[in-house]
């Protein structure tokens, strides 16, 4: 078990999310094919992953808003070392940091492009990938 982390490892070692915490609406959105982010009901600022208070206005009220998912690659790297037994077979796998057109940033993976062709500034769209019955991971693919 991780300490203070939001993920559990299954028997296979693949890191999976907790589905019952404050980020539950994000995971439900992914199941429904939407990228939903927590948004302040007072000032409209996004905050993600979920937290109680808005960093801009301090408010607690919020809604979960489906965003476009359009963004650009802010940076990228390739994991050669396996920190999670369940991902060892996937190495080297990419991790990209995507900046959404609405502003928030997300760590994710980019599919549909060879790792050597990853570039910052690439326009990307969401790609919904089912990894278990209960979990859909929102990855990204090239596209406007």
């Amino acid at each position: 078990m991780s300490r203070g982390a939001g993920s559990d490892a299954t028997k296979t070692g693949r890191p999976l999310p907790r589905l019952d915490d404050a980020n539950a609406p994000f995971w439900q959105g992914a199941q429904a094919g939407e990228l939903r982010l927590q948004q302040c009901a007072g000032c409209g600022a996004y905050r993600f992953p979920a937290r109680r208070h808005c960093a801009r206005c301090g408010g607690e009220e919020h809604r979960w808003t489906a965003v476009s998912g359009r963004g650009t690659v802010w940076s990228h790297c390739l994991f050669h070392k396996s920190y999670f037994p369940g991902l060892a077979a996937d190495t080297p796998y990419n991790v990209v940091l995507v900046k959404l057109e609405e502003g928030p940033m997300l760590f994710s993976n980019l599919v549909g492009v060879p790792n050597e062709e990853l570039r910052i500034g690439m326009p990307v769209l969401p790609h919904f990938e089912r990894v278990t019955d209960a979990v859909v991971l929102i990855k990204f693919k090239p596209g406007l």
Binding site: G4, G6, W74, L97
Partner: protein, 381 residues
């Protein structure tokens, strides 16, 4: 800005280091006590003279005080993050300046290697705070965080692997001259390029070492410092700034804004500028941090740090030697502490083969969400 009258009011008078490497059987407290005894021997003070205690990475100040039999008036404890070493030293100066303590011991103990500490993955107690949310995508580790930053620097400015190689090779050459360093075998740029990737674009040799060890420093006021065994090394200036908002993600500016703020506060307080430094001690958790630091503090223009380091400038004998001990990359990852001790030993002239001749001013700097920097000098002003 820090009150400028504090410049030169405190001095490092005692420094102590344990062996570094694999020290099974010693926990963080044991390593801290060992280092503190070395620091007391160094300056000639007795344990009973210590009336201020600041511990870092050691789990509990109360237990530490019990182990060494101290009832210090002033006490502080900080989390096991390397960025905290600079802050602890600043705290000591403030405690001395306000009269809350007369002799402050700063004690660090790290048994991370023997304890099997990990910086990444589900068992990482240090880097994971809120970062566990991203584990399902395989994102973890401070190394990957810095790999993302370097990749961006690379694509924005054309910075190259050979620039990182130069830093890694240079600091290893320095470590070869340091009997206390863990990794002393020199390697070539070709060896660097051949070393395996961890989080590409970073190679194994871009990462610091995880080792056991302890470091202690004793600071006192300038007037008391003059009566002790060693020549005082004065804290001429110090400053800090943070960039905590949105800090789950790498900063757009490689922490330039907080570093520039620190530079604006630091040099006027110290009464000397970047051009007056005889050596630098740069927090080198990963090689790219060295580049970001040089840009942030204005040693070179933004985006030009790669070519700037590639002409041998940071090597002993170069224009601005850096991390003469080998740093975190090759001496040991003592989270900033051993770099501060190296600054003190250099200014005392105790560094043997790796001595920077005639060094008068040395700057320590740490680029992170909490940026700190300290200018040490042989003279108080």
């Amino acid at each position: 800005m820090v009150e400028r009258s504090l410049a030169g009011r405190a001095a490092a008078v005692g420094v102590g280091t344990t062996a570094f490497g694999k020290l099974p059987g010693y926990d963080d407290y044991d390593l801290g006590v060992w280092a503190l005894q070395e620091a007391l021997n160094d300056c000639g003070l007795a344990m009973a003279d210590i009336d201020g205690l600041i511990v870092n990475r050691i789990a509990d100040y109360q237990r530490f005080g019990e182990i060494v039999g101290l009832n210090p008036r002033f006490v502080s404890i900080t989390p096991g993050q390397g960025r905290m070493s600079g802050w602890c030293i600043e705290t000591a100066v403030m405690a001395l300046a306000t009269g809350m303590a007369r002799h402050v011991a700063l004690v660090y103990g790290n048994n991370g290697r023997s304890a099997g500490d990990r910086y990444g993955g589900a068992s990482d107690p240090y880097g994971s705070g809120g970062a566990g949310f991203w584990f399902p995508w395989g994102m973890t580790s401070p190394g990957a965080f810095h790999a993302l930053m370097f990749q961006r620097h690379r694509e924005l400015y054309g910075t190259e692997h050979r620039h990182l190689a130069h830093i890694a090779v240079t600091f290893r050459r320095h470590a070869a001259l340091n009997p206390g360093a863990v990794m002393r075998e020199p390697f070539s740029e070709a060896d660097y390029h051949a070393s395996r990737y961890i989080a590409e674009p970073l190679h194994l040799l871009d990462y610091c070492l995880i080792n056991d060890g302890g470091v202690a420093m004793i600071l006192t006021t300038a007037d008391r410092a003059r009566d002790l065994k060693q020549p005082p090394v004065y804290v001429r200036g110090f400053a800090q700034a943070t960039q905590l908002a949105d800090s789950s993600f790498p900063p757009d500016d490689f922490w330039q804004a907080p570093m520039a703020q620190v530079a604006r506060d630091l040099y006027p307080m110290a009464g000397v500028g970047a051009q007056d430094m005889d050596a630098l001690m740069i927090y080198d958790n990963f090689t790219p941090t060295v580049l970001f630091s040089l840009e942030g503090f204005g040693f070179c223009p933004v985006g030009e740090s790669g070519p700037w380091v590639a002409d041998g400038r940071l090597a002993l004998g170069g224009k601005l030697p850096a991390n003469t001990s080998g740093g975190h990359l090759s001496e040991s990852y003592m989270q900033g502490w051993a770099l501060n001790v190296e600054a003190v030993r250099q200014l005392r002239g105790q560094c043997g083969e790796r001595q920077v001749q005639g060094a008068r001013h040395i700057q320590y700097m740490c680029a992170a969400p909490l940026v700190t920097s300290i200018v040490y000098g042989r003279d108080p002003r």
